[in-house]
């Protein structure tokens, strides 16, 4: 895969080098730019992941494999406007967990705990939605979402404190919090808001359901005289707004500057007077809050939407935040797109059951995508160096700005 791309790029560079001055430089800079390399690496990972899925489909059921693959690719579109709405509905929690993981990445932290933060947030939201009925709409769902966010933040606070003050690696502590969260959520649901006949949480009060925000006029399929509504609601709008807010925080504020600095180089950050411990804790709290909000948004969608299942299984939405963040390169805009993509193929995967395929194939595909995006990170740093090397061969007298890369502080060569 990498050799293919290297080969492809190499040819482009050779062609480019025959072009006159200015535009070539700009194009060359484009190809060398990290943004392009990273994006193309993501796309490649997706393509290879999907191909792997196709291979597995073939092995399981050759006759229907192509049809099954087609269903996956058509994703939510195969059921019209309602299906598209469903894609957005399921993308909503993914955007938030993706933001959660991505935000933590920017600070140099691995938030594998999005699943625990997510379910605790969701449980809190449902709890408030079911039991605090004295609050009128529209405040009811707002308070529920707020509760979800705070609880998620709390769930991120603990690993954050442990890392900042006790040097506990956040990968393990967040994984522990996942399990603690899962059992706690199950316990809380069973104790206070349980619908024992269905083994699910109870329905929230109507005042706590997220408003449709006009989306019910767009995402539905006409069935005779009635509308088959998608469950999508204002949640997607909230998610998009959060993406924009996070983007602004990371790139435009002093707070974002400090967080990124800590993620890149904590020694230099200390040298600059940045409070590293505070940054770590705040970052985990924000990451947790985002995932918690995601849980709230998913579970406050009324009777037709999701309810919490009481099982000893970790929330998949939390883990899927990882590939969303990786594919989106921890950039909020990229995260929105990759969340929609993952949701798209997940919805498609659900339809596979009509063909006797098992929907878990989607998880396999997603895992492959993560794996290949991990591989391609090596490629991401190799390609720009390769291009510089070509440049050096063609223009040996050019400014040698590369010394910084190959020298350590001893300057030995």
């Amino acid at each position: 895969m990498k050799r293919l791309q290297k080969f492809f790029m190499g040819h482009s560079i050779q062609r480019l080098s025959k072009m006159p001055g200015g535009s070539m430089k700009r194009l060359q800079h484009f190809f060398m730019s990290t943004g392009f390399n990273h994006a193309s690496a993501s796309v490649f990972s997706i393509i290879v992941g999907l191909l792997f899925g196709l291979i597995i489909l073939f092995i399981s059921n050759p006759s229907q494999a192509l049809e099954g693959f087609g269903i996956i690719l058509k994703g939510g579109f195969s059921t019209g406007a309602k299906g598209t709405g469903q894609v957005l509905y399921f993308a909503t929690p993914l955007i938030l967990t993706g933001l959660s993981v991505g935000f933590a990445f920017k600070t140099g932290l691995f938030n594998i705990g999005a699943a625990g933060q997510f379910i605790m947030g969701g449980t809190t939201a449902v709890y408030i939605g079911v039991l605090w009925t004295s609050i009128p709409a529209p405040f009811h769902w707002m308070v529920a979402l707020l509760g979800a966010t705070i609880m998620g933040g709390l769930w991120g606070l603990i690993p954050g404190l442990l890392k900042a003050y006790m040097n506990v690696h956040e990968v393990i502590s967040t994984i522990m919090m996942n399990y603690i969260g899962m059992y706690t959520a199950n316990f809380l649901v069973k104790s206070y808001i349980y619908d024992s006949q269905m083994a699910l949480s109870k329905n929230v009060a109507p005042t706590a359901v997220l408003p449709k925000g006009g989306l019910d006029y767009v995402f539905y399929n006409q069935m005779g005289n009635s509308k088959d509504l998608s469950t999508v609601n204002a949640g997607i709008i909230i998610a998009l707004v959060m993406a924009i807010i996070i983007f602004i925080i990371i790139n435009k504020t002093t707070f974002g500057y400090e967080l990124k600095a800590c993620g890149f180089n904590k020694n230099a950050s200390k040298y600059a007077g940045i409070n590293e411990k505070r940054s770590i804790v705040l970052s985990m709290v924000i990451a947790g809050a985002l995932a918690g909000l995601g849980g709230g948004l998913l579970y406050l969608s009324g009777g037709s939407g999701r309810r919490i299942r009481v099982v000893d299984v970790l929330a998949m939405e939390g883990f899927n935040g990882i590939p969303v963040a990786l594919l989106g390169l921890s950039n909020p805009i990229g995260i929105v797109f990759s969340a929609i993509f993952i949701s798209y193929i997940t919805v498609g995967g659900n339809y596979l059951q009509t063909l006797n395929f098992v929907p878990e194939i989607i998880e396999i595909i997603i895992a492959c995508i993560i794996y290949f995006s991990a591989l391609s990170m090596f490629f991401r740093t190799l390609l720009p160096r390769f291009i510089k090397f070509i440049k050096h061969k063609k223009f040996p007298e050019g400014e040698n700005i590369e010394e910084g890369q190959t020298q350590e502080e001893g300057g030995e060569l």
């Binding site: 600095a261 180089n265 700005i401 010394e403 910084g404 001893g410 060569l413």
Partner: protein, 509 residues
Amino acid sequence: MDYVIEMLNITKEFPGVIANDDVTLQLRRGEIHALLGENGAGKSTLMSVLFGLYQQEKGIIKKDGVEVKINNPNDANDLGIGMVHQHFKLVHNFTVLQNIILGAETTKNGFLKMDEAREKVVELSNLYGLMVDPDSIIEDITVGMQQRAEILKMLYRDNEILIFDEPTAVLTPQEIEEFMKIMKDLAEEGKSIVFITHKLNEIMEAADRCTVLRKGKYVGTVEVASTTKEDLSEMMVGRKINFSVEKAETKPGEPVFEVRDLVVASSHSTKNAVNNVSFRVRKGEIVCIAGIDGNGQSELVYGLTGLSPIRGGKIFIKGKEITHMKVRERNQTGMSHIPEDRHKDGLILDYSLSENLMLKKYFTPEFQSNGFIKFDVATEYANMLIEKFDIRSGQGPRTKARSMSGGNQQKAIVAREIDFDPDILIAVQPTRGLDVGSIEYIHKQLVAQRDEGKAVLLISLELDEVMEVSDRILVIYEGELVADLVPENTTVQELGLYMAGSKRTEVAV
């Protein structure tokens, strides 16, 4: 001519850089051959090729006139080639003995058999006067002893061709003398030696011949007996360089920076790293703290700048006590710091040049409002500094710091810290790893600061720099100040004695 090793027309490339460009080195049997060049000239790379760590793109290597292929250190070892690297390749929590035998273990059915090995090590140790305790753990012993362990590693493998990469970088002048003697003894025993260095004195004293590299290219090979320091340096740099720093007479004013009874703990022993150190730096004065690496300088600076907590003592800037202030407060009170390790502390390599230049100012009202960064102000500021300090980079303020050369990275840090207009500028090894042009530039800047009436505290290991740049020299040994000297009234030899702890005087504050 009886050449034991010949490296002919070697070219070695890395992505983006040609480290060795058609280089030739011929080593005679039993000679001490110096390999000279500035930082980045390609000396270490060339020897790494000989030692099998890298493979050359072009050129051949011959041993005893026969062409050989050296694909890995095992091949090199089989040919009798051994190498002591500048950064020792010793496993910190293994014993000396384990490090010596690693890779050449004697085993029985896979189980380690240490007795024979131990005997041989003790034997070699006695034969060459390299005393070590085989069961001591590397992280507990001195640098000098670690080096002896590295040398024993080579002798244990019966290496006949010994490569030393900057062997004296971490030794006192006395230890350097001892090392020179060891090298000469080894040569007399018939070993052939290459030693990499950029120190002309050592070449003049110990080497038979010297090969010079410059920016990856081969410049020439000379008989040391018939050349001079000036000739060598001209070959090394390509032009005549002025060894001395131009400096006007100084008229220091009142003390601006005062340190009293500073005590800083050590991270790896119960003894203090800094023990009751007191000194003053006056306006318009460059005070240099000289000493061998590892005698407490790093801890001292970390304590002064607030990066590490201190166990005792007080620090004052212009009479105001800053002992308990956080790093940022100290900056605001007039302290600037050019750190020892520009990649670790001084810069965020993944940030752009302008983001790095505003590293200590991003939170001020000038650069942000209501938490939002004013990027246009930042860019303007960066452009101003780039112009004023001649910082070269690929794309100006937007350049990622990582892609700048070492010299320009350091210039950026110097620019940032000087523009702070500090009362006290602390510069730690500011010219380490830089080319001669950058070194000259930075020395000029330090002197300029001092001429403008700033106080400069310089920490340095390079004796030339210490003698040339400072107005006053304080020597640190094992965490204490043992000398307060004026460059005009002392010699390098005397400095060396103080640095090695063989001599001490009371230091008047």
